[in-house]
Symmetry: C2
Subunit: 320 residues, 2 copies
Amino acid sequence: MSKQLNLNQTAAFLQAAEDVLILTHAHPDGDTLGSGFALLRGLRSLGKRVRLFCPDEIPPKFSFMADAIKFEHYKPQVIISVDIAARKLLGDSADDFPVIHLAIDHHAANESYAENAYIDSTAAAAAELIFNLLCQLNAPITPAIADCLYSGISTDTGCFRYSNTTAQTMRITASLLEYGARAAELNRRYFETKRKAYFAFERMALEGLRVLERGRYAVTVLTRAMYDECGANDDEAEQIAAIPRQVEGVLIGATLKERKHGGFKVSLRTYAPADASAIAKALGGGGHTRAAGCIIDNKCVNEAQELLLAAVREELTRMK
Amino acid sequence: MSKQLNLNQTAAFLQAAEDVLILTHAHPDGDTLGSGFALLRGLRSLGKRVRLFCPDEIPPKFSFMADAIKFEHYKPQVIISVDIAARKLLGDSADDFPVIHLAIDHHAANESYAENAYIDSTAAAAAELIFNLLCQLNAPITPAIADCLYSGISTDTGCFRYSNTTAQTMRITASLLEYGARAAELNRRYFETKRKAYFAFERMALEGLRVLERGRYAVTVLTRAMYDECGANDDEAEQIAAIPRQVEGVLIGATLKERKHGGFKVSLRTYAPADASAIAKALGGGGHTRAAGCIIDNKCVNEAQELLLAAVREELTRMK
């Protein structure tokens, strides 16, 4: 079990930390990277040595966050994870960090893998927590930090569309705009720009989109053949995953993404009262109420869809 | 010329007003309706008689704003327009209101058609102005009013994506969430819900999407056959019109919409430095720098695309 810290205690922990290593999760998104690089820049401004480790390559659209950042070599004294709910989310590096001193996270399901944890599941993004911590530490919010934190919040809230968006989310974002976040430019990059490959991929996904269970469930499948024919990537598959739920009347949207070495990664998106995490848990996965996921291995596409449909039906029945 | 009022003067004007009629613009959107109904509810809570007139039918997605509102008959003493930049935007009703006592608007280009005007072009939506006025008047912001104002702000900012979104926009929205605006539900309705017909329409539009001029120009065609096969409507065609510009690297996006009785309506969307209005003007149309349109008549689809391409090339050349 982690020792649970509040905002002040976490700020004090960071104030005392020296020679820090920040960990972001594998398949890095805007929140883990935005939170990580904002924390790095903020702690450095307090005179600390800070490095950041990302288990996977940083997607090009987020690579600006690392601009002009150099990594010194030293033995980390304090290891901090940001936006990481479970050790396994470090991917291949999960075993490389036997001791993680502090987890800063907004997932209610954080698995308490760290010695200390600052968890606030009311936050839409870990970036909200980093903003509050940097303010508490009187670290200046530079335009570069504001861009990182804005990126974390905007990507985790679907640009303020999702139900996780709160008054605090909006007030923090107001401050970030005043601190110089380039919101319009970042929004264009994150939400308004897609590769040709994406549109070919989306067209195929729409061709395969099926609406079932009297219009309450929509599902599509992304096969390796589709990835290959379009040259689409996982990030683009993530964008596709938002589509099935958008069909009018649908409460549960699912996207089956065939994995390189077989099996399927399932992305679930729901609207109230449907619980995505309940469906994911039934298949050995997990996540949030409105967005969750699981892996279905050793099954052909039809078997995988049947398994998923059974779990979806359970949830639809529970809702009655 | 209108007499320009500031916030306090406008609040005083409203405080003194009795038997009010509020005008919204033709082809009503979320901001004119949200501002109008929020102002109506707020002034009624101060004990005033208030009616609202909308020149066109209220779109179903906004009709909830009028729920439980009854209109008494009386001769209006004070006529107030909301989100109306020019008298002609009253459509067929433009001549029915020779005297408009107050215009509340956020368009810099407001044509000063009213006796008094409260104009703040720094506001992303007229709804921001209504919020500030209701607070000034100590009118309670009920959940119903919060829904109306949230609708105005979210629809005019593309759910906080556009460059008109400011720190004030975010702070007002934070308050609206606390006052009970059903943001997630409204976002879902305005931004996340599409008919099955739309997805079929989009799939066809993507099939026909062509990227030309070394990746700087993208164009697609929506034929009547496509409208008919999908059962898609003009509103859905408008959503398609945003797609060509979203292709990475594209500066000019065009959508040719075949008209019921022949010819094509062209929607143009650009990113700097491309000027949509310049292209539209070359073809007898007009509009804004980033969004414009024109009609191409008496041409088959290929001729129409050639004409358009010639105008696009002119603009690409000008940009060099």
